[in-house]
């Protein structure tokens, strides 16, 4: 049965699926509006760096060093420093959530200082960045404060070891450089599996599946005809993203566009088959929508190497991530965008994705039964 395509018959099934998909305006919401929303959010709305964090600088008695620290913090984009008259007062405000950090410089002697820094660890990532930047600002302020007082600054270090860091592939560490390729992954995961998750379950629930299987259409034809309209919708989303990369966000595509498209189509096909399998297995729109919701968005965000570093995760978590197709696609896409055609990585990722595609296409066809149990 599978594999046989009668083209006349096939054309009319495809036509039916296209009509069914595009008749409902909500598909356009997910095909066009959602990519745009996500691009705007990731491209403009979200920034991992900190900005405008309110920090209290404790000034118990007039001190030029503290003034310099205050000024140094004010000059960075990271902080909005405010004065606080006492250590207790500052802590009270901090506990009440009115400030994100406290700095207090205690002058022990003319040249020796104790700097106390308190940050709020309930948002660990922000706390870490704040601590780092506050230290930097304090050091800058301190070395200045000392010259102001007329003392010799830190022995000027001519010579000595200096560390020079270069971040390759993204020297200015633009966050859009890795956010935007990520948006493509999220969109293809969602568009692909979400619509297909509903299609077969819907026919089951409405009872039209019986009509469908009573025709001569083969399983393979059912599968392909369900996949193609959504595939087109996914391609629309992909096109929007690529255009935005090029015209709006100036994200480079250093690898070949051909491989970007090829890997994206392959991944889209994987998502589609995944959605179909879920749909055919559950036969319930409610269940399949819950499953797809749970297994697409957050895992794509968290389990792949996209936002967090998988190297720091325990071994079993790395093993789990291997079974998410998104893991491979993220790696391939990020390299294609920022590095270029890295042959070994591309072969590995593309091969892994192909395996997923074959297995899922097979299971989808298998579970699309032509019987009614």
């Amino acid at each position: 049965m599978a594999g046989q395509i009668n083209f006349v018959r096939f054309r009319s099934v495809i036509k039916k699926e296209f009509r069914q998909t595009f008749r409902d305006r909500s598909t356009l919401v997910i095909g066009i509006l959602l990519p745009i929303i996500l691009l705007v959010l990731f491209g403009y709305g979200m920034s991992f760096d900190i900005k405008h964090q309110s920090v209290l600088v404790v000034k118990e008695k007039p001190s030029p060093v503290t003034d310099e620290v205050f000024m140094a913090m004010k000059l960075t984009p990271y902080f909005t420093p405010r004065w606080s008259s006492s250590w207790q007062e500052a802590q009270k405000e901090f506990v009440a959530g009115k400030a994100d950090g406290i700095v207090r410089v205690e002058q022990l002697g003319t040249l020796s200082n104790n700097v106390q820094i308190i940050v709020n660890g309930s948002d660990a990532n922000t706390a870490r960045l704040m601590e780092m930047y506050i230290r930097g600002a304090v050091l800058k302020g301190l070395s200045k404060g000392i010259t102001v007082e007329g003392f010799k600054a830190e022995p000027a270090s001519t010579g000595g070891i200096t560390a020079i860091s270069r971040i390759w592939f993204n020297p200015a560490t633009e966050s859009t450089y890795f956010m935007i390729p990520g948006v493509i992954v999220i969109i293809l995961s969602i568009v692909g599996s979400m619509l297909t998750a509903m299609v077969i379950a819907r026919e089951w629930e409405r009872g039209t599946y019986e009509t469908l299987i009573s025709t001569e259409v083969s399983r393979f034809e059912i599968m392909i005809s369900k996949v193609i309209p959504t595939f087109c919708l996914g391609i629309i989303g992909l096109t929007i993203c690529l255009l935005a990369c090029y015209f709006v966000f100036d994200v480079p595509i250093r690898g070949s566009l051909f491989w970007v498209l090829a890997s994206s189509c392959l991944y889209l096909f994987i998502s589609l088959c995944l959605g179909l399998t879920v749909s055919a297995l559950t036969k319930s729109q409610f269940l399949s929508s819950q499953i797809v919701l749970v297994f697409t968005f957050l895992p794509t965000l968290i389990i792949t190497d996209y936002m967090f570093d998988l190297k720091s995760a325990p071994l079993w978590a790395k093993v789990v991530s291997v079974f998410f197709p998104a893991t491979w696609y993220v790696e391939m896409l990020a390299s294609l965008f920022l590095v270029g055609n890295v042959r070994d990585l591309m072969i590995k990722d593309f091969a892994a994705m192909s395996i997923f595609a074959v297995i899922l296409a097979f299971t989808a066809t298998k579970y699309i039964k032509k019987t009614l149990e």
Partner: protein, 373 residues
């Protein structure tokens, strides 16, 4: 009035049965939350515990070997390759064989002895700019402290000392897991609760039983309340699962009052369910409900302060997110769970959720009535 409650009770019973009668729905509402909490608890980690690095030492002097010894002795850095020439760097970084390459030039020690600047290059893979930034700053720290050790031996003119003492409140070891899991108590339940509430109306609309519900003596307020209660209950159960895992499995201390925390959770779930019901007023079928839910839940999740700090968003976004219940939910969970603020102190995050819950519910009722007439 008594009659109202009696019929409401019957309705709620029917709704709960509809959600939970299927064993598979019970599973899909519990198991994924369980798995995700554990998985994310381990993976969602900005703490860089392991950095793969490679070394290119063209100097082979005592100093350069001593410096590299520091890297070898560090807990974080993990040597994956020793290079022989500059040409090997690019393929290594491109193929992700190392995150960082430490490059010491040929006359490193000679320059140092002459009192010139002796650079050490730190090259990082910038595909994920967060990881690259953290990894280079670790490497710089090691190099700088080595440089300090060297000069301390020579330089007796040590006049300047400053001691920075950073303290992280509410999360002493600055573990990302603490902030992630406390946020997940709110965030994980949000997605499925929203979908349940929107789908439950859409399902009846699709199968035509919604009209039957409307011809019962129940008012539209009662019908919607009947839909809201099971969804809120599911949300509370899911949050409890996350909470129990966070407390018992990961051993995160709960600082505030559990009762108050649950009140906040309930308010949050009510506001989410209100949005879900509101969405369902526009939907004719389950597919639409699903797609609209997703278009709403993604921005809610991404702009909640969960992934990136709210203060870093552009001003327009900061204004927009004031209407996002997830923003208050996450803040509430952090200040009550981790910081242990009292109800009076955390009320500023509580009342917006309550107001939104009521407003969205009223909006839903109004829209339903408008559609009916």
């Amino acid at each position: 009035m008594k009659e109202f409650f009696l019929s409401l009770k019957a309705l709620i019973r029917k709704e709960i049965l509809m959600v939970l009668k299927d064993k598979r729905s019970r599973i899909i509402l519990v198991v994924p939350v369980l798995l995700q909490t554990i998985l994310f608890g381990y993976v969602a980690n900005f703490d860089l515990d392991q950095v793969d690095y490679a070394v290119l030492d063209e100097d082979h002097s005592k100093t350069s070997i001593d410096l590299l010894q520091k890297f070898r002795g560090s807990r974080i850095f993990n040597l994956t390759a020793t290079l022989r020439n500059v040409k090997e760097i690019a393929p290594l970084l491109e193929n992700k064989k190392a995150t960082v390459v430490i490059h010491i030039g040929p006359d490193f020690e000679r320059k140092l002895n002459l009192g010139e600047e002796a650079p050490v290059q730190v090259l990082a893979d910038g595909r994920n700019s967060n990881i690259a930034g953290a990894a280079t700053s670790y490497a710089e720290n090691i190099i700088q402290s080595f440089a300090q050790e060297l000069t301390e031996g020579v330089d007796t003119d040590d006049t300047f000392s400053s001691n920075a003492i950073p303290r992280v409140w509410y999360n002493p070891n600055l573990e990302t897991r603490w902030s992630i899991l406390s946020s997940l108590t709110f965030l994980l339940s949000m997605m499925q609760t929203l979908v349940i509430s929107a789908q439950s109306v859409a399902r009846e609309k699709e199968s035509g039983s919604f009209d039957q519900l409307l011809v019962t003596p129940l008012s539209s307020v009662a019908v919607l309340l009947g839909k809201a209660v099971p969804a809120v209950l599911v949300g509370l159960v899911q949050s409890s699962i996350v909470l129990v895992i966070a407390l018992l499995w990961f051993g995160i201390p709960f600082a505030g009052s559990i009762l108050w925390f649950y009140l906040g959770l309930a308010m949050f779930d009510i506001s989410v369910v209100g949005i879900g019901l509101w969405i369902s007023a526009f939907c004719a079928n389950m597919q639409q409900a699903m797609l609209y839910c997703f278009s709403v839940v993604l921005p809610m999740c991404l702009l909640s302060g969960f992934v990136t700090p709210v203060e870093s968003m552009p001003l327009i976004f900061q204004k927009l997110v004031l209407f996002n219940p997830a923003l208050y939910g996450i803040k509430f969970s952090r200040i009550v769970f981790l910081q242990g603020l009292t109800p009076a102190e955390s009320f500023q995050c509580f009342w917006p959720m309550a107001v939104m819950g009521v407003v969205f519910f009223i909006l839903a009722v109004i829209f339903f009535r408008a559609k009916l007439s």
